[in-house]
Structures are given as structure tokens and as C-alpha cells.
């Protein structure tokens, strides 16, 4: 029984998670088939654009899981999580930039176009190694992780909590945004990194590559979900929840609160970095706008809308909000900000547990009514 499967025991009482994973599996199998195997003029054909859009949503969902880990389970409201996402994205972007080689506008085999444009003589040292895929991927996880470690180590050790922590995480992403806007930083300044050609030799313009990226993203999302689920159901996860609910009590019992918080924070940042690295080849650009504090706050709303502390709630929120964003910004651009603003207010005032919370409440009421009726 114990060895039967950690996997099954982990999901035993996670009905939402099971539904989510099954849906994800269906989507991952069906969408690529409908794209690649069905003829273009068929009504069932799904365009590559849609596939890429779905891939984007799945990246957001992974990012939302990362935030839910720290916010929903650990009680740390990070208003700078998009920074880790963007850092992962930049690592991937640097790899893709190096893959362009001499096919850039200026045809320089060594330097990306923007560096030639700025009259740079040679590649800065921090770009070394990014022509290797494995190195870039390592960095996409390592850089957000190290930053989160440093930041968290400082902040948790000196017991910066609650609102103060939120504000300084916001300051962090704001500072990074300003820094990446500078041309001198060597990350393309305002324009960021773009004009990517290929990844691991596969052209980014081809449908098959796009579908492949989508499948990989879905896989990573599933893995990310399972690992996160593993963490929150493990002993560590329960301590983390205890820290959220009564930090002082957990500390008095003898747990080193700081290190628990720190490790969850770092893991979450790494997850966000992976999401960013998956995001960039699909959208084809990474620029400093990704660091903007607005993005991080929007991310918080996804999680709040879905319902925090449930992981699959975060996924649901990310996909729902982004789907309506895509729809509204195209159909009624003026309405989008009104809708988003109203969503913030409604969710915080009326739905503190998000949509999942609302569903659970309705179900509980039904059960109660049935009980009342039966006797």
C-alpha cells in the first residue's frame, strides 16, 4: 500500500486535482491531433495560433501555481513574482538570441543585433554559455532561485512579514524593471529580446515546433502541479500551513520558521522561472514590461479568482482570467480594465475563497438541504 503509489495517495483526496489533470491530459492529446492531423479547411481544425495561445495560458497556470504555493500555503503575498517569471524568460531569450547567429539584420555571428547597434565590441561576460541549451535552462531556474534565496534569506530572517513584505517585493520587481530598461545592462533595453529563429534546431515558425512546445508546457505544468502537490501534502507542507496560520506558535514549538518559508519561496521562484522559460519561445519576445508591478498584481488576482490554497484553483483562475482578457481586449478593449478592476473588487469583497470556494459552498449547501429533506 505504501509503495503502491505515492502518486495515488497524494491525489487521493484531491478531487479537483484529478479533474484538472485528466482535463489537461485530454487537451494535450486532442489539441495537437486536431491541429496536425485534421485538414486545414475542416471545421474541427485548430489553428496553430490557438495552440500557442493555449500554451501561453498553461505557462500562466504554472506561474499561478508557483504563487499559490507561497501565498495560499505560506501566507507570503509576493507582489514581485512576475520578476522570477521574467528572469526565467530572459535566460531562455538569451539562448534563443544566440541561436540567431549571423542571421540577424547586421549579420554579426557573435553579437545580437542590439549590441551591434549600440557599438558593442564583444559579448559581455554574463552572456557566455547561453549558446548552450542546458546551460540556459539551468540559469532559467538558478537565477530566479538564487535571487529568491538572497531576498528571502534577508527578509524572513529579519521577520519582514505581511504588508511590508508585499511592498518590498513590489519594489524588487520595479527596480529590476528599471534596470532592464537600461541599454547599458546588455539585455536589449526597451525592446528586449526578440526576432527568435529556432530552438534546438527546430524553427519556431513551424507548426510542429509550436505543438511540441505546447505539449512540453502541458507536461511541465502537470509535473509542476504534482511536485507542488507532493510538497503541500508532505510533512513540510503541513508545517508551512502551520506557519501561515500561526507563525509564532510554529516557532515556539521549535520549527525554524525562516527556513521553511525560504525553501518554499525559492522553489516557487524556480517554478516561476521555468514558466517564464516556456513562455518566451511561444510568444516570441521578452521585454522589461514583464517586470512591471502590474503584471505581478494581475497574477495575484488570477490566484484569488480561482481560489487560493488549492493549486488547481490557481490554474483555473489563471486560465479563466486570461481567456476573458484575450476575448475582451479584442472585442471590447475599453471594457477590459473596467472588468479587471471590478473583478479585483468583487473577488476580494464577495469571494474571499475564489470560484472554487464558491462551488464548494454551493455544494455544501446542497448537501445540507438534502440532509434536511431526507429525515
Amino acid at each position: 500500500m505504501a509503495h503502491k503509489s505515492i502518486f495515488m495517495s497524494m491525489l487521493a483526496d484531491d478531487r479537483g486535482g484529478k479533474i484538472f489533470l485528466s482535463l489537461l491530459a485530454i487537451v494535450t492529446i486532442v489539441l495537437p491531433l486536431l491541429n496536425l492531423a485534421v485538414a486545414q479547411d475542416s471545421a474541427f481544425h485548430i489553428s496553430t495560433f490557438t495552440i500557442t495561445l493555449m500554451g501561453k495560458y498553461l505557462c500562466y497556470a504554472l506561474l499561478a501555481i508557483a504563487l499559490d504555493l507561497v501565498w495560499g500555503y505560506c501566507g507570503i503575498l509576493s507582489l514581485g513574482h512576475a520578476a522570477f517569471f521574467a528572469l526565467g524568460g530572459y535566460a531562455m531569450g538569451m539562448y534563443l538570441m544566440r541561436q540567431i547567429g549571423d542571421r540577424g539584420v547586421y549579420g554579426n555571428p557573435e553579437l545580437p543585433d542590439f549590441m551591434v547597434f549600440l557599438n558593442w565590441e564583444s559579448l559581455p561576460w554574463y552572456w557566455y554559455g547561453f549558446d548552450q541549451f542546458w546551460f540556459a535552462m539551468l540559469m532559467a531556474m538558478l537565477i530566479p532561485g538564487v535571487l529568491a534565496y538572497l531576498f528571502g534569506w534577508l527578509a524572513f530572517r529579519s521577520r519582514v512579514t505581511g504588508v511590508y513584505l508585499s511592498i518590498i517585493t513590489q519594489a524588487l520587481t520595479y527596480a529590476l524593471m528599471l534596470a532592464f530598461f537600461r541599454n547599458e545592462m546588455g539585455f536589449g533595453g526597451n525592446n528586449g529580446l526578440t526576432d527568435f529563429k529556432e530552438i534546438l534546431g527546430f524553427s519556431l515558425q513551424q507548426d510542429a515546433t509550436r505543438v511540441g512546445l505546447f505539449v512540453i508546457t502541458a507536461l511541465m505544468l502537470a509535473i509542476g502541479y504534482l511536485v507542488s502537490r507532493f510538497i503541500v501534502t508532505s510533512k513540510l507542507g503541513r508545517v508551512v500551513v502551520a506557519v501561515r496560520d500561526a507563525e509564532d506558535r510554529a516557532r515556539f514549538i521549535g520549527y525554524k520558521v525562516e527556513s521553511f518559508k525560504l525553501w518554499v519561496f525559492v522553489f516557487s521562484a524556480v517554478l516561476a522561472g521555468i514558466a517564464g522559460a516556456l513562455y518566451v519561445p511561444q510568444v516570441g519576445i521578452i521585454n522589461p514590461g514583464e517586470f512591471s508591478p502590474l503584471n505581478s498584481i494581475e497574477l495575484v488576482v488570477w490566484v484569488a479568482v480561482g481560489g487560493r490554497g488549492l493549486l488547481y484553483g490557481a490554474v483555473l483562475g489563471a486560465i479563466l482570467v486570461n481567456f476573458s482578457k484575450t476575448y475582451l481586449t479584442a472585442a471590447l478593449p475599453e471594457v477590459w480594465l473596467f472588468a479587471l478592476g471590478a473583478l479585483f473588487i468583487i473577488v476580494t469583497v464577495f469571494l474571499p475563497k475564489g470560484i472554487v470556494g464558491l462551488l464548494q459552498q454551493m455544494k455544501a449547501r446542497k448537501v445540507k438541504e438534502q440532509k434536511n429533506e431526507s429525515p
Binding site: I167, L178, I297, F344, I345
Partner: protein, 551 residues
């Protein structure tokens, strides 16, 4: 019988009419009698002999007519002609082959003629220098100090003995310090070329007192070497004096540039103070994280814009109206926000953050829909534009100066409200111990609404000030919200003096870093510094003491 009578009446009427007409025609002549002397003198310019012309020029000057300067300038540049037929003098503008005649008195173009009908009024070198000094004198007696200063600056380019004498006369009666300084530099510029060593030495010392850029250049020239490696100035004593003068000038320049940076820093600090004190109240006193604070400032700025639209003819007074209007508008919106949303969220600061962020998005979109997403231009009243030039190295712009004063006044008023009024007492009591205050009969909900209204109203006032410094657009608020939070957190929540110290020190530090690192990097450094500072002292510079600071 009756006919002659009627004709007699008619004659009377006619007479009257003629009288009226004659009065009408005579009147302008009477009014223009000041022109007469001027016109007569002009006429004499058509004389052949130069000494006659010279006399005419003096007479023109004596007439003190408003057109003296343009006429003499035209004469100096060879653009003054007279018509051969009637000897009437005109200022002429040459355009291709034709000559446009401009009436001397009215400055209006009256005719366009060929070259042949005109004769140029020629001058010689004596007349030229006479003209130059007269023009300079006219400028120097101008009531506007700026005109006087630029006249001196013009004369500096080409100093003559006459000019020096003129300037020396002016120096005695000159009142403006900055014009005096410029005159002294001009005189020293002439003296330094003299052969007399004592005069030279004096001139060098005089130049050492001035921070005028021209003075500094000249001093550097005195100690420089020419192409052959020889000193331009042979006398060692003079060179040493010049060296000394240079070092005093440089020290002075350093002091002035320090003062200027300090001024910029304080002015940035007061902008930060204005934008942060409203937040300090809502955040510090109520525990509400108001992310819509920036948008309330934006509303204040737009209120200024609307006020100016409503009173386009009295821009000078628009700000006086805009300040209370912005306070009311932003305060009203603030109370709406508090009653509509925030009252359900007390005790959940992170939720207030999200809800108010939603409100900020809605407010931005409202402004975009109502006013367009483009920036609106808010006019700066006359009394706020320009600069207070203390000397040639230090000038303080009036808009920043007024904003510093304004922010100090607002800060003082706020302290007074909190410390001396009943409302302030209630606010403080609720912030310290809500339950106890309720038990004593304070209507805490009412206090909450008013406190939030007060904080929001101050944000609106800050918006009025910002409208004078930056573009008024839907994104105005976003640019300031993070800075404002930094100020409040850095200063210590719930402490207005902490906010004051934090705003000023962050402003000054930022401006002193800027020349060394660039504006963006300076901001990043300050942000990183605050992040690190919060780790060291999580409750800010001046943490609240006692139970109120506990949570």
C-alpha cells in the same frame, strides 16, 4: 419768412459740424506732440554733414521716444533711408530687389519701392561708436533687469573705453545684484587687457569674485600657455593672482552647484512628501494599503485641467481654485471608495491592497474614456514660470520653489489637523485603540470615512502640484505610487514626521546620486537601499512605539 430762418439754423449746424470735425482732426496731433521732437530730429538726419547727423542722433536720444532703439539700430546696420522726393525717413527691409518701407512711428509696412527713389543715411566710425553707446545706454536704463543684463552681456563681447565709462556710471545706480555682478565682470574684462599692472591685478581680483562663466574662462586664459609653451601672461605675480582667483571661483562654483543639487533634492523630496503624506494617513492610521492613491493624485491633476478649461481668462488664479476643488473631488471619491468597498475589508490589509488596485484600474479607464488616453497640457501661471536668478551660477526655478513652500504648508496644516482639532483627536484615538475609542463614544465608522477622505483629498492636492511638473495623463498615478509607498515604509508607518524625514532624505540622496550614476540607476540604488534597510529595521526609521506598533 420762415425759409431764411431755416437756412440760418442750417448754417449754425454746419458751423458746429465743422468745429467738431476740426477738433477730431486736431486731437491726434495734440496727442502726438511728443512725436514732434523725435520726427524733427529724424528729419535732421538727412543732412549732409556728419557733425549735423551726430547732433541729430543726440536729439533723437533726448526725445526719449519709444522708437529710439529700433531707429538707431536701423541706422547702425545701414537700414535707415529717406525718400528722395520728400525727405521722409523710413526703416527699410530689403527683400530681393525691392525695398519695403516701414513707418518709423507705427512700425507698419507702408509701401514697397525700387532702389532709386531712396537714399541711404550714411554714417562713419565716430557715429557708429556714438550709436553703440547710445543703444547700450537706452538698454541700460530699461526698467527690466533682464534687459539690462543682456545689454551688458552684449557689450562684453566688444568692450571699449566708452563702454567701460558707461558701465561705471551704471554700476553706481544699478540695484540688481546680478546685473551689478555682470557689469563688474565686463569692466574687469576690459581692464585685464590694459598695460598697467595694478589695473590688471585689480581686474583679476574682481574676476575672482564672480562666478560668471566668462570670468572663469578669462582667468584660465591668463594662466595658460600659448602654442610655443610660453605663458600668455609674462608677469609671475599676475599669474599667481589669477591662479588664486581661479581656485576661489572654483570653490564658489562647487558651493553653488552643491546648493543647486540640494535645491533639486529638496524639491523632489517635497513632491515625494506631498504624494506620500496622504498615503501615510490611510496606511499608517487606518492600516489600509491604498493602491488607488496614485489615481487620486491623477484626479487632482485632471481637476486642475478642468478648472483651467472653465476659467481660460484667469489662468493666474486657476491654481487657487484648483487646490480646494481637487481636495473636494479626490476626497469625495475617497469617501466613496471607503464606504463602497473598504469598510468590508478592515483587518485584512492584503485584501485592501487588491481591492484598491482594482479601483485604480477602473479610475484609470474612466479617465481614459472621458478625457482620452493622451496627455493633457495644464498651463503654468505666469508667476510660477521663470527662475529666481541669484547669480550667474545659481538659478532656482519658481515652480519648484513654490512646490517646496506649498508642500511644507500642507504638511504643517495636516499636523495641525491631527494634533489640534477634534477630528484629529478622533483619528488618533481610533488608530491607537479602536475598541476603546468606540467604548468612549467615538463613531469609528464615521472617523474611518473622514480619515480616508482626508488622505485622499491630500492626494488630490498633490495632483495639483504634480500637474505643474509633469504631464497630466492616465498613467500619472502609477509613476508615483511605488515611490510613495517606499517613503511611508522607510519613514515608519503611522509617523508623519518619519514620512517627512524619509521624503526629504530620499529626494536629496536621489539627486546627489544622479550626476554620478544617471537618473535611472540612482533610482534603482535608492530602491535597493530601501529593500535592504527594511530588512535591518522592518518598522522603518521611526517605528511606532507601544501596542499600536505591535502588529
Amino acid at each position: 419768412m420762415k425759409l431764411p430762418c431755416i437756412t440760418g439754423h442750417l448754417k449754425c449746424l454746419l458751423l458746429l459740424l465743422m468745429l467738431c470735425l476740426s477738433v477730431l482732426t486736431i486731437n491726434p496731433v495734440l496727442a502726438a506732440s511728443g512725436d514732434e521732437q523725435f520726427m524733427n530730429a529724424l528729419q535732421q538726419l538727412t543732412a549732409k554733414k556728419f557733425n549735423q547727423k551726430s547732433q541729430a542722433i543726440s536729439e533723437i536720444e533726448n526725445s526719449r521716444h519709444s522708437q529710439v532703439k529700433p531707429v538707431l539700430n536701423a541706422l547702425l546696420t545701414g537700414n535707415l533711408y529717406y525718400r528722395k522726393s520728400d525727405k521722409v525717413v523710413f526703416i527699410v527691409q530689403k527683400q530681393d530687389e525691392t525695398f519695403q518701407l516701414i513707418d518709423v512711428l507705427s512700425d507698419q509696412q507702408v509701401a514697397e519701392v525700387g532702389k532709386r527713389t531712396l537714399k541711404k543715411i550714411s554714417i562713419n566710425n565716430t557715429l557708429r561708436s556714438q550709436l553703440r553707446s547710445i543703444i547700450a545706454r537706452v538698454d541700460l536704463s530699461d526698467p527690466n533687469a533682464d534687459v539690462r543684463r543682456s545689454a551688458v552681456q552684449d557689450m562684453m563681447k566688444d568692450m571699449s573705453l566708452d563702454a567701460v565709462n558707461l558701465l561705471q556710471e551704471q554700476l553706481v545706480i544699478e540695484r540688481s545684484e546680478i546685473v551689478k555682478e555682470t557689469i563688474q565682470v565686463a569692466i574687469a574684462l576690459y581692464d585685464i587687457k590694459s598695460d598697467d599692472k595694478a589695473t590688471k591685478l585689480n581686474a583679476i581680483n574682481a574676476l575672482g569674485d564672480s562666478v560668471h562663466p566668462e570670468a572663469n574662462n578669462l582667468l584660465k586664459y591668463v594662466v595658460s600657455k600659448d602654442a610655443d609653451g610660453n605663458y600668455v601672461e609674462n608677469d609671475l605675480e599676475l599669474r599667481l593672482a589669477a591662479q588664486n582667483a581661479i581656485s576661489t571661483v572654483e570653490t564658489k562654483l562647487k558651493i553653488y552647484s552643491f546648493a543647486e543639487t540640494l535645491f533639486f533634492g529638496v524639491s523632489l523630496g517635497s513632491v515625494l512628501l506631498l504624494s506620500a503624506i496622504g498615503l501615510a494617513i490611510t496606511f499608517g492610521v487606518m492600516g489600509v494599503i491604498n493602491m488607488a492613491h496614485g489615481e487620486l493624485m491623477m484626479l487632482g491633476a485632471y481637476t486642475t485641467y478642468v478648472v483651467q478649461l472653465l476659467m481660460p481668462n484667469s489662468i493666474e488664479y486657476s491654481l487657487m481654485v484648483a487646490v480646494p476643488a481637487a481636495f473636494l473631488v479626490a476626497g469625495f471619491v475617497g469617501i466613496l471608495i471607503e464606504r463602497g468597498v473598504l469598510q468590508f475589508l478592515y483587518g485584512r490589509p492584503l485584501e485592501t491592497l487588491l481591492a484598491t488596485f482594482g479601483i485604480s484600474l477602473i479610475l484609470q479607464q474612466v479617465v481614459r474614456s472621458v478625457f482620452s488616453p493622451l496627455n493633457r497640457s495644464v498651463e503654468t501661471p505666469e508667476w510660477m514660470s521663470g527662475a529666481w536668478e541669484i547669480n550667474s551660477a545659481l538659478a532656482l526655478t519658481y515652480n519648484r520653489l513654490y512646490i517646496i513652500i506649498f508642500s511644507l504648508i500642507i504638511f504643517a496644516l495636516l499636523i495641525l489637523i491631527l494634533k489640534k482639532t477634534a477630528l484629529g483627536l478622533y483619528i488618533r484615538s481610533v488608530s491607537q485603540n479602536r475598541e476603546m475609542a468606540k467604548a468612549m463614544g467615538v463613531r469609528s465608522e464615521w472617523v474611518d470615512a473622514l480619515t480616508f477622505g482626508l488622505g485622499s483629498g491630500i492626494a488630490g492636492i498633490a495632483g495639483v502640484a504634480l500637474s505643474q511638473l509633469t504631464n497630466v495623463g492616465p498613467n500619472l498615478g502609477q509613476a508615483y505610487i511605488i515611490d510613495s509607498f517606499m517613503v511611508v515604509v522607510f519613514g515608519g508607518v503611522g509617523n508623519l514626521w518619519g514620512t517627512f524625514v524619509a521624503a526629504m532624505s530620499l529626494g536629496v540622496v536621489n539627486k546627489f546620486l544622479e550626476p554620478w550614476s544617471g537618473a535611472v540607476l540612482a533610482k534603482i540604488i535608492v530602491l535597493v537601499f530601501i529593500i535592504l534597510f527594511i530588512q535591518k529595521r522592518p518598522k522603518g526609521l521611526f517605528p511606532q512605539k507601544g501596542r499600536a506598533g505591535g502588529n
